[in-house]
């Protein structure tokens, strides 16, 4: 192994950004957000205001940092080499998100396959059961949980599935528009995707309202309530983020950003949206349906 | 910056490493064989 600078490609200089204060400010904002949250749930100090301050700092950095990146992108600082870094980065970031959801699906499968049936059949070999009236079937709020009505699959959830699947199609249609330089199709596709995502979120908000007020289905409704709200809740949070990202991409494409050759930001957001879509499909099957 | 070692010294070290390797190998083998005869 020997270095030989004479053979290196001329002119291939990787873009290393100038020193920046954004990362350290972002860390400060996250510290405030975390500290305020702890204060809020433990009732000491002005937790709400600390959280608000942290959120403001984070928002400032998001605008500033992404603004800087967009500026660098528009001024042509990124070429194929840098573009590849962003692609790899986004792919592995989505991989971490997959594993985050895997933890909650793991919890769901564990309670359904192991803990609830075990609790239902606890100690029959000793001639008695700890909770004779508890059958250990799903859905359940556990041996000591309150009664509730589980969420049916074929009402709003099925409609939401259709909405998200069509939004996956519209974002691809927008991508085709971008690739063929049909800017109108690009804008329309993105707008449709944002709209579908927003309707999805509206339906989900209605569903939560319905669950809390009419079905008795709350986060405290045992293993079912916990897994239901954490899975759909984190998914809904990701849909919200995805919708905001799509909106930014829509605004950027309206102001003439992106070309048929170079549009990593569009693709990153599209990947993210498809990831959210796939999570929903798994969720629909295992949380709502079976 | 590391102190320079003469070729003769390095050759001596090579031999020492070889001998020590055999020695340790033999010791491990001996331990293994002795273990076969320990009854509990």
């Amino acid at each position: 192994m020997k270095a030989n600078p004479a053979h290196a490609t001329a002119g291939e200089h990787y873009f290393v950004p100038q020193p920046s204060l954004y990362p350290v400010i972002l860390s400060g904002g996250m510290f405030l957000l975390a500290l305020g949250f702890i204060q809020l749930i433990n009732n000491f100090g002005p937790g709400k205001w600390v959280m608000l301050g942290g959120t403001a700092v984070i928002l400032y950095v998001l605008f500033g940092w992404f603004g800087k990146v967009i500026y660098e992108s528009q001024s042509g600082a990124y070429r194929d080499w840098e573009d590849r870094s962003f692609r790899y980065g986004m792919i592995w970031f989505i991989a971490t998100e997959v594993m985050f959801f895997a933890a909650f699906f793991g919890a769901l499968f564990y309670v359904r396959v192991i803990s609830v049936p075990t609790l239902g059949g606890m100690l029959p070999e000793h001639g008695f059961s700890l909770w004779p009236e508890f059958a250990g079937t799903w859905p359940t709020s556990g041996p000591k949980g309150a009664a509730f009505t589980p969420m049916g699959a074929w009402g709003i959830p099925a409609l939401n599935t259709a909405l998200l699947l069509s939004s996956g199609a519209t974002v691809t249609w927008a991508h085709w528009g971008l690739l063929r330089n049909k800017r109108r199709q690009l804008a329309l596709g993105l707008a449709a995707t944002v709209l579908l995502g927003s309707i999805f979120l509206g339906f989900q908000a209605y569903e939560y309202h319905h669950a809390y007020n009419e079905l008795g289905l709350t986060m405290g409704a045992g293993a079912y309530g916990a897994t239901f709200f954490m899975l759909t809740g984190f998914h809904g949070f990701h849909v919200t983020l995805g919708t905001i990202m799509l909106l930014v991409i829509l605004l950027r494409s309206l102001s003439g950003h992106f070309s048929a050759e170079r549009h990593f930001a569009f693709e990153a957001v599209a990947w993210y949206w498809h990831f959210v879509d796939v999570v929903w499909l798994i969720l629909f099957v295992f949380v709502y349906w079976v | 910056m590391a102190p320079a070692f003469s070729d003769a010294d390095l050759a001596r070290r090579r031999n020492a490493a070889r001998r020590l390797g055999w020695l340790l190998g033999a010791a491990v083998l001996a331990l293994y064989l002795i273990g076969l005869f320990i009854k509990r």
Binding site: P5, Y14, P19, A34, Y88, A103, G142 | A2, A17
Partner: protein, 531 residues
């Protein structure tokens, strides 16, 4: 070397802030690496002080110095600090400093993200230790008292220290994930032309597998502590049997992260070992391909063996048997690594500078960790050893002798490259022998204590354990004090000392030794070509 310096000189107009702003704003992989390593050294002493207080309490039976609750807080925060704030940042610091130099890259692939990854650490460290301070002012009852594993239901019932630790773990997790993404992208995208994956330095391979493990497991830990948080404050029943949940679910989720975490701490060191051994044996590393495939095999196996950490919690027999055999299967690729390290030295012209001493010491002591691990992996035997001091001794052989001493190997090996100065060999060797002696003095008695039945995590113990505990405490204080030599040696080396050439060690091979010591601000602005 000369090429790189000329390229740095082509940018006279570039402005870099000085003083504190240099460190707050930097996007340079060397500056960020230095910050990671400095942070790691500081937190190493913070975590060390905590455990010295614990050992002082355990010097004699009975309660002398602290309340049991405070004792519990100290051991939990000691572990979290040492794992997340000392060992992991040290390895990330190595990666930041050395990966671009080793693979011929101008910098890390995502420099601003890199800076963010570092600057998340100080806030997390503050969150972790803040409850101690708050308790002095009458707010809360101190840090988490559950041990670093957060086991439910104790952690569900614990005070606000648990909330601080949960949020700290979230931030530390984001930091590690950003670092991992950056390292993966750097290795995939920034290699010099001609450096194929099978020509990659083994250190880079070790870190690549580490980064994949972090990406696969840290989000699961984040999920687990999030469930803990909602169980504590938002009424969910993930870990509560009354609602159909299960405390053991937490153990599954935690150790799905926790076991790979062991390899996350060790793989960077395993990657570094062949470099050091080959340099000071003046021979190429033995079995490059075998080592690469062993890394991959260990990475894959490590995510399917987690339940051996709670064999006694209650599991069906087939599950026990599966987890026992899969755990023991890890010893096969690990043995391959051991044989490769030994074969690298075989017939080598070995010289024993400080890094080589640490490397050889690592092999012997980490070997003990591996062998005692096999005992614990045995389901039938583990019923006896579980939650005893035997386990404590075992994982300190793995994480101190394997992790920390591995990091020290790397520091002594690369310090002259980073600073341009040679450290004091005399002090380094003294540090090594003191460390090895006092480390064994501390932890060999703990094996016996565990075999005799002393449980972990207790501030008081039965009289028959008194002598061994006294010896262990004595060893721990010598061990702690001898680390001051380490810090002093580094400090002196940073400040000055004999100048070194670009190839610091005469037997060293690799791109990192082609650049000057210290390397220019822009490492490989023009990439070298690897044949």
């Amino acid at each position: 070397m000369s090429t790189a310096t000329t390229h740095a000189a082509e940018h006279p107009a570039e402005h870099y802030p000085g003083g504190l702003m240099r460190w707050l704003t930097t996007t340079n992989h060397k500056d960020i690496g230095t910050m990671y390593l400095t942070f790691s050294l500081i937190m190493f002493f913070v975590g060390g002080l905590m455990i010295l207080a614990v050992r002082a309490e355990l010097f004699q039976p009975g309660l002398q110095l602290m309340r049991p609750e405070f004792f519990n807080q100290l051991i939990g925060v000691h572990a979290l600090v040492m794992i997340f704030a000392a060992l992991m940042p040290a390895a990330t610091g190595f990666a930041n400093w050395m990966l671009p130099l080793m693979i011929g890259a101008p910098d890390m692939a995502l420099p601003r993200l890199n800076n963010w990854g570092f600057w998340l650490l100080p806030p997390a460290a503050i969150l972790l230790t803040l409850p101690f301070t708050l308790a002095l002012f009458g707010i809360g009852d101190g840090a988490l008292a559950t041990g670093w594993t957060f086991y439910a239901p104790l952690s569900v019932q614990g005070g606000m220290g648990v909330d601080f630790a949960i949020l700290a773990v979230h931030i530390l997790g984001i930091s590690s994930i950003m670092g991992s993404i950056n390292i993966i992208v750097t290795i995939f995208n920034m290699r010099a032309p001609g450096m194929t994956m099978m020509k990659l330095p083994l250190f880079a391979w070790g870190w690549l597998i580490t980064a994949f493990l972090l990406i696969a497991t840290l989000p699961v830990l984040a999920g687990a502590v999030t469930m803990l948080l909602t169980d504590r404050h938002f009424g969910t029943h993930f870990f509560d049997a009354a609602g159909g949940g299960d405390p053991i679910l937490f153990q599954h989720l935690f150790w799905f992260f926790g076991h790979p975490e062991v390899y996350i701490l060790l793989l960077p060191v395993w990657g570094l070992m062949p470099h050091v051994l080959s340099t000071f044996s003046r021979k190429p590393a033995y079995g490059y391909t075998a080592q690469v495939y062993s890394f991959i095999a260990i990475g894959l196996l490590s995510v399917v063996v987690w339940a051996h950490h709670f064999f006694t919690a209650g599991m069906p027999i087939p599950a026990l048997v599966y987890f026992m055999f899969s755990t023991m299967a890890i010893s096969i690729p690990l043995a391959v690594l051991f044989f490769c390290w030994i074969a690298t030295m075989w017939k080598g012209a070995m010289t024993f500078e400080t890094p080589m001493l640490f490397a050889v010491g690592f092999i012997v002591l980490f070997g003990i960790a591996g062998l005692t691990g096999l005992i614990l992996a045995d389901v039938a035997a583990d019923a006896q050893y579980h939650h005893s001091y035997f386990v404590v001794a075992h994982f300190h052989y793995a994480l101190f002798a394997g992790g920390i001493m591995g990091v020290m190997t790397g520091v002594y090996y690369w310090l002259p490259k980073w600073t341009g100065h040679m450290y004091s060999e005399k002090l380094g060797k003294l540090h090594f022998w003191l460390t090895v002696f006092s480390f064994n003095l501390t932890f060999i008695p703990q094996f016996f204590l565990g075999l005799a039945g002393m449980p972990r995590r207790i501030p008081d113990y039965a009289l028959q354990f008194a002598e061994f505990n006294a010896i262990s405490t004595l060893g721990a204080f010598v061990l702690g004090l001898s680390q001051l030599l380490f810090a002093w040696n580094i400090w002196c080396c940073v400040r000055g000392g004999p100048k070194v050439e670009s190839r610091v060690w005469e037997g060293a091979e690799g791109l990192e030794w082609e650049l000057s010591s210290p390397p220019p601000h822009h490492s490989w602005e023009t990439q070298p070509t690897v044949k």
